[in-house]
């Protein structure tokens, strides 16, 4: 749904307060986005104050159906600010509104960044080692953010053992669902048996959905890292494993770097910037974790439809993503 005239007026008034000058909304347009949040392009004119002139922005707010475990807009804003400060490619966050009188819930405004994030489109471009190297370096910058961080206190305490903590969490998630899922349990049992030692240096800030589909590319370069709903403290290998997981190659199976280029280029660039060696032997573990996690999320989304909470064809179809994830889990773990 587009922003109503009234909503636009309230946003303009609120922005005028922030800017210390009159703000007029030139145009607004609903952008395509996930089921969890709404994005609106917002072009404004500021008459004076600290940021005079025309600004091409994006306004981001919660949609009706936010997943319980993902972050709200205020938290996402704080994550973006932290990431931006660390040099991670994100749209520059401008201002956060926590006054429910304006749009009925928190929202924030950030610079609009151009680019293509759709995986199906990106894998049609020629594979590029340079691009995936950028993505690796970008991830290393994110992982430079370590606890404690008072600005990120909503993330909770960093787990001492991220792998085992994840296994426990996904088991609890499965227990909360009505049906049994033995193939996913098989994956979790494997993950429990093969859990690596906790990361040297402890947990770091992980995106936890760092993959093709959430990375905006413009002119062959990374322009923005999107969708921070699942960010949290974890083992950095989780992000590396998720990026390299087969399920996110959008059909271009041979390009291990998210379907975009060679996996080696991604890892090498990450290592250069992180100043540490990635133990490649640890990555397959996190690829199994990636498939298990995505299966659990898909099952939770399907349950919203199945339970009648939110009848939706899109949610109903997420149930049908699970079998191929389970197949990959079984292929990766083998009979042990």
């Amino acid at each position: 749904m587009e922003l109503s005239g009234e909503e636009q007026a309230r946003v303009a008034a609120w922005l005028s307060d922030q800017a210390g000058a009159a703000v007029t909304v030139e145009t607004t347009q609903r952008l395509s986005g996930g089921a969890i949040q709404e994005n609106h392009r917002l072009v404004i004119d500021v008459a004076g104050g600290e940021w005079p002139g025309r600004h091409d922005l994006v306004l981001r707010r919660d949609a009706a159906s936010a997943v319980a475990t993902s972050h709200g807009r205020a938290q996402e804003y704080r994550l973006l600010k932290a990431a931006h400060k660390a040099g991670v490619a994100v749209p520059m966050p401008c201002v956060l509104c926590e006054d429910a009188d304006v749009l009925g819930g928190p929202f924030f405004v950030m610079h609009r960044v151009a680019g293509e994030a759709r995986g199906a489109r990106l894998v049609k471009l020629p594979p590029s080692a340079e691009l995936v190297a950028e993505l690796g370096a970008n991830l290393a910058k994110l992982h430079s953010i370590r606890p404690p961080r008072p600005d990120l206190d909503f993330l909770g305490a960093p787990p001492a053992d991220p792998a085992r903590a994840a296994v426990a969490r996904y088991r609890a998630d499965l227990d909360a669902l009505p049906d049994p899922h033995p193939a996913v349990e098989w994956g979790l049992a494997w993950l429990a048996r093969h859990a690596p030692a906790p990361p040297v240096g402890g947990a770091v800030l992980c995106h936890r959905d760092y993959r093709t589909g959430n990375l905006m590319i413009a002119d062959g370069h990374l322009s923005a890292t999107l969708d921070w709903e699942f960010a949290g403290w974890s083992d950095p290998d989780e992000d590396i494993g998720w990026f390299l997981a087969k399920c996110w190659r959008f059909g271009r199976w041979d390009e291990e770097g998210g379907g975009l280029g060679p996996g080696e280029a991604f890892v090498a660039a990450y290592e250069r910037l992180a100043g540490r060696t990635v133990d490649r032997a640890r990555l397959p573990y996190w690829q199994v974790m990636a498939h298990v996690r995505w299966a659990v999320i898909a099952l939770q989304q399907a349950e919203r439809h199945n339970s009648g909470e939110e009848p939706s064809l899109e949610l109903a179809l997420t149930a049908h993503v699970v079998p191929e994830l389970e197949l990959e889990i079984l292929n990766l773990t083998g009979d042990a």
Partner: protein, 97 residues
Amino acid sequence: MRKRPSGADLLSIAAETEARARPEDPAANYVAAMVRNARAIAARQAEAGDAGAPAEDERRLARAIRAGTAPAGTYALLLAEVRARVAESNPRALGKA
């Protein structure tokens, strides 16, 4: 036990979604693709017939796997079950196994 949604439920939500869709909607192609996919899945399920082990068996198996007491042959059983469901949900994925 076949997982939910049932074929009938899938067809029902597909029909509803199709009825509500407007051709000028920018997501119209995406919605049409989802509807086609849903119908194809339901058709494959109907052709395969009523499938799989009873729910209680699945539950017992899931518990045993978690406890580490799953019997020998469990992996092969899971693989066969999962392959059958991939054949219904997304047969193209079988080529990548």
